[in-house]
């Protein structure tokens, strides 16, 4: 048990967290409903009626959630959204170094990773894939909904892009979820997306540059929560 006790650093506000989980929920539902047309065994399991319902859910979620998520990010927490975007689009040598060393870290080998800001290079890549991937999926998705207005040759490419995007994002999501839930080196990060705070130790070790910046302003003391979490982990 950590002796540092309940000193925690605030990482994500409520709006950021709701936006994240909305995105997560939407992606999972869209992937589960959409990939039934890619994995035929799974499609057969749903049956025709199940696929029709899946299609309906896919369209409802696909149309509504991007709007909800954008609204939250832009209206409820524009400041952090701006910072997030600035961060994911600014790259330097230490990011590259981080990425080069990360595979070792991923497979549990000992490495000294360069100091990172609020978002490490891996998270930046994940963010970029999510931003551009979601845009691609929304645009191509709408074109498929309105496919009568486009020529079949355009739709042929749109459909390939939609399927490719889904599969690529699916692969990324698997790794992303594992890093947050199962990887010993980074699973503390999940707390940042649940309670909004991460342990001081995690913040210092994984996001040193950011920690130095916010260690005084974002410091919170929430005893039980940390305790609870540790118990759950144990």
């Amino acid at each position: 048990m950590s002796k540092k006790g309940n000193v925690r650093i605030k990482r994500f506000n409520l709006a950021e967290r709701v936006a994240h989980w909305s995105q997560a929920f939407a992606f999972v539902v869209l992937f589960l409903t959409g990939s039934a047309l890619i994995f035929r065994g799974y499609g057969a399991l749903l049956g025709a009626e199940g696929l029709r319902i899946a299609g309906m859910i896919h369209r409802i979620i696909g149309v509504s959630f991007p709007i909800i998520i954008l609204a939250i990010l832009l209206l409820l927490t524009p400041k952090t959204t701006k910072e997030w975007l600035r961060s994911v689009f600014s790259w330097n040598m230490s990011d590259i170094k981080f990425l080069a060393l990360f595979p070792k870290e991923f497979f549990g080998l000992k490495v000294k990773l360069p100091a990172q800001g609020k978002f490490n290079a891996g998270e930046k890549i994940n963010s970029l894939i999510t931003i551009f991937g979601s845009m691609l999926m929304v645009i191509t998705g709408w074109m498929l909904i309105l496919q009568d207005r486009f020529s079949p040759s355009v739709i042929a490419w749109v459909h390939l892009l939609h399927a490719s995007g889904a599969l690529l994002m699916g692969a990324v999501i698997i790794a992303h979820a594992y890093l947050a839930l199962g990887h010993p080196g980074s699973r503390e990060a999940i707390n940042g997306m649940i309670s909004g705070t991460v342990s001081e130790k995690f913040a210092k070790e994984h996001h040193e540059l950011w920690y130095n910046e916010v260690k005084d302003t974002n410091r919170v003391v929430v005893g039980e929560e940390v305790q609870d979490l540790k118990e759950r982990e144990a």
Partner: protein, 231 residues
């Protein structure tokens, strides 16, 4: 290979659309959905102008692209060579509309399913001609069994000015000088190959790769143990 074939004598098609409306009523289609499309071409300079009207519909391909991309098996080719849709299985995903090289499929908004020519299979079953053939006011359409070399359609197919749309069950007779307007052979569109042979396998591989890496990491992080975060 198909047992049945259709032949359109373009020399006789006056572009009147009687086949279209007869098809719609016979097959209970909404008035704005047609299984038959018409392409009109003209060439020459006034007053030496020539025209042809080329009706197209499902060509009942030997190796239908629509069947390849259909995720539920709703589109299928039966043992008589007809490409049919099992409406119980069609979920209206429209992949087949994109895949069809002849733009022969339409989405029926009233049923939420895809629609196309089925050579009037219910009529053929009773020994009747498809509705479009029956309705053609200028006898430009012919339908029949090609197995039988003595059938009227086999005789027409054997005539020198008859051209087959390669890889399909469709034949046309074109006026002199209009050979180039014959619909192209049923080559599978790149879309079909890209989807079924590239995107789907590559994507699935990527997913597998990701899952494999995760599994490997899970094992290795625990074998290596003593990671600094573990206490």
């Amino acid at each position: 290979m198909s047992k049945y074939a259709m032949l359109i004598d373009v020399n006789e098609c006056i572009g009147c659309y009687a086949c279209r409306v007869a098809c719609q009523t016979t097959n209970d289609l909404p008035s704005d959905i047609s299984r038959i499309k018409f392409m009109e071409k003209e060439k020459g300079t006034f007053p030496e102008t020539e025209i042809v009207v080329l009706p197209t519909q499902c060509m009942h391909c030997d190796e239908p692209a629509c069947v390849d991309v259909c995720p539920t098996g709703a589109s299928f080719k039966n043992e008589d060579g007809l490409v049919l849709i099992d409406y119980d299985k069609c979920i209206g995903c429209k992949y087949c509309i994109t895949a069809c090289p002849y733009d022969a499929r339409t989405f029926n908004t009233s049923t939420g399913k895809v629609d196309k020519c089925n050579f009037c299979a219910p009529r053929v079953q009773r020994g009747m001609q498809p509705a479009c053939v029956e309705a053609c006011v200028n006898d430009a359409r012919f339908f029949g069994e090609v197995d039988d070399s003595n059938s009227p359609i086999s005789k027409l197919i054997a005539e020198a000015d008859t051209a087959k749309v390669g890889g399909t069950s469709f034949y046309y007779k074109l006026p002199e000088g209009w050979d180039e307007s014959l619909p192209e052979d049923a080559i599978k569109p790149a879309y079909v190959k890209n989807l079924t042979e590239r995107v789907h396998p590559a994507g699935k591989a990527l997913l597998g790769l990701s899952a494999g890496a995760v599994a490997a990491s899970y094992v290795m992080t625990r074998v290596n143990g003593g990671h600094e975060d573990e206490e």
